[in-house]
């Protein structure tokens, strides 16, 4: 078994996670991510009933909310916290043609 992930594997997860990584970080992550993933791999060996799954220890079912309007933020509140805004809008560099 390799003791590190390939560059492509690291770049792929970095892409999924939207994190830029430098060349020196890349090398470090190749080793460190592999260490964690190897540790995680042990889960495959556990013998267990695959039909049962626990998402969380929920003590009850979802309580449904009545369809009644509550308080809202003002547009000013919304844009005040945003790093970039224009008028009442939050602004980002143009996004066209990517997935939606």
């Amino acid at each position: 078994m390799d003791d590190k992930l390939s560059r492509e594997e690291v770049l792929h997860v970095a892409e999924l996670a939207r994190i830029a990584i430098s060349e020196s970080e890349l090398e470090k992550y190749q080793i460190q991510l592999k260490q964690i993933i190897d540790s995680v791999d042990k889960i495959k060996e556990v013998e267990v009933d695959d039909d049962k799954m626990l998402i969380a220890n929920w003590s009850k079912e979802t309580t449904l909310r009545e369809d009644e309007c509550g308080e809202m933020l003002s547009p000013k509140d919304v844009i005040n916290n945003a790093p970039r805004h224009s008028g009442n809008y939050i602004e980002v560099p143009v996004v066209i043609g990517e997935e939606s």
């Binding site: 969380a56 079912e61 979802t62 909310r65 309007c69 009442n88 143009v94």
Partner: protein
């Protein structure tokens, strides 16, 4: 063209008609000031958590029912992870493992042929925010973020743009009639994507898929699918292939254009949403919701036709929800439904259009309408006279007979009065009388017209005709 077999599947997103958003209690509204309908949950602020709107579940159960879906009784939500500026948490809460509805169908009719369009599944999810592109910037308005959606996915079972169009029309009618959604494509409350592939033989595997996204109208869905079939056929005819891709329909050039080629499948990293425990749908919930489903369009059409309404009228009435509801009220009465439908779709519809009113906003109660129909049926009131008093009929509350009387246009049903007029007309038009006697049928229509003219339209037409024929002997 087409010696190919097209296969089409359609995915439709429909915004649900609720007061509040799916996972927060901010207002579900359209056309308001940007970012004025949000709270910290819609914006994905740290530490915030979703709650689940009861009405969303009700409307989804309703939709599943009218789409003949099986309803899942125990479900959870899932997270679909992808980064995009319109996606406030960079994950969308949706249902991938346990969609609320599955194995449904909708019946359509194209060129007289009936077909079942099978629905694979329908699930509940949240809408994204609205982006507007301005030069080098994209502006984000989160009013739409968290608006409840259902996504309805058909099996790849349609064979033409026409079928897809018919399916969407049917879907819109059903969802609109059951008060699930406004289904306004122009406001984005109904959005359709189509997957199109073609193949040579039924036994071949499906061809490469192209997805046509966000088509602006139902008509364009039909056109864009046909165009796409044409495009793919040409490629195959020329021995070319293409990669799975996403296209959009450009209304200006009347064809689909490439948006992007799909690389490997999207990696949405779905996993169960831990913030929302199991949701259970009980028999009681379903019963309660089903009780609120009004009579659906197909049944209405059928009933109207059974009652003697011409098919074309029946279809037209059903296209107008408030008119159809009004018409339904009449169904238990013993009246002339053909005349009723003509009245509603003719002068009354014109009035409603002009005044921008609903039928229920006029003074035409059921009883007054029945009286009106009766007066029309026995010729007490002619179409021409009706036009003169229509405003009164729709705006006054007095009885129809009072309106007719007070308008002085009461139909002359007095035999001798009509006979006088008829004799006068015969005297004044000897030429036409002669024509009639030599077998020119058209002459009687002219003479009849003269009688009506002379009586200022108030002679009972049926009586007038009888007397005219009698006097001409």
């Amino acid at each position: 063209m087409s010696n190919y077999i097209p296969t089409i599947g359609v995915e439709v997103h429909v915004e649900l008609k609720t007061n509040t958003k799916i996972f927060s209690n901010s207002t579900n509204g359209y056309g308001e000031m940007a970012n004025s309908l949000t709270n910290v949950i819609d914006l994905g602020y740290p530490g915030t958590l979703p709650t689940l709107n009861k009405e969303v579940l009700n409307l989804a159960i309703k939709a599943a029912t009218v789409l003949n879906c099986k309803i899942r009784r125990e479900m959870h939500f899932d997270r679909k992870n992808y980064f995009y500026p319109d996606n406030s948490k960079n994950y969308q809460i949706t249902q991938s493992r346990t969609p609320i509805g599955y194995d449904g169908y909708v019946e359509i009719e194209v060129n007289g042929v009936k077909k079942r369009i099978e629905i694979e599944e329908m699930h509940i999810e949240e809408d994204t925010c609205k982006s507007t592109h301005r030069g080098t910037k994209t502006l984000l308005d989160f009013n739409r973020a968290g608006v409840p959606l259902i996504e309805i996915v058909t099996k790849p079972c349609m064979a033409s743009g026409e079928e897809a169009k018919a399916y969407l029309e049917k879907l819109r009618e059903l969802l609109f009639y059951s008060d699930i959604s406004d289904c306004k494509i122009e406001e984005g409350s109904m959005r359709a994507d189509a997957n199109v592939s073609i193949r040579k033989n039924e036994s071949d595997p499906f061809g490469t898929k192209a997805e046509i996204k966000n088509i602006g109208s139902i008509t364009n869905v039909g056109i864009s699918i046909e165009k796409e079939i044409e495009r793919q056929s040409k490629l195959y005819d020329n021995g070319e292939t293409f990669k799975p891709q996403t296209r959009r329909y450009d209304d200006k050039i009347g064809d689909t254009v490439l948006m992007r080629v799909k690389e490997t499948g999207n990696d949405y990293r779905y996993f169960p949403e831990p913030d929302i425990p199991f949701v259970y749908v009980t028999d009681e919930m379903i019963e309660r919701v089903v009780a609120t489903i009004p009579m659906l369009p197909d049944e209405r059409r059928k009933l109207y036709i059974e009652k003697g309404v011409p098919e074309v009228n029946a279809n037209k009435i059903v296209q107008n929800r408030s008119l159809s509801d009004y018409f339904n009220e009449l169904l238990e009465e013993n009246t002339n439904f053909k005349i009723a439908s003509n009245l509603l779709l003719g002068d009354i519809a014109a009035y409603l259009n002009k005044e921008e009113k609903l039928i229920t906003e006029t003074t035409l109660t059921k009883d007054r309408f029945l009286e009106l129909i009766k007066n029309m049926e026995d010729n007490t009131l002619t179409s021409k006279n009706l036009k003169d008093i229509l405003n009164k009929i729709l705006e006054d509350t007095s009885s129809i007979s009072d309106i007719i009387k007070s308008s002085g246009i009461e139909n002359i049903t007095d035999d001798s009065a009509i006979r006088d007029v008829v004799r006068k007309v015969i005297e004044a038009n000897p030429g036409s009388v002669e024509d009639y006697k030599t077998g020119h049928d058209r002459a009687i229509k002219f003479l009849m017209g003269q009688v009506m003219k002379e009586s200022k339209g108030s002679a009972n037409p049926k009586m007038a005709m009888d007397i005219l024929v009698e006097e001409l002997q």
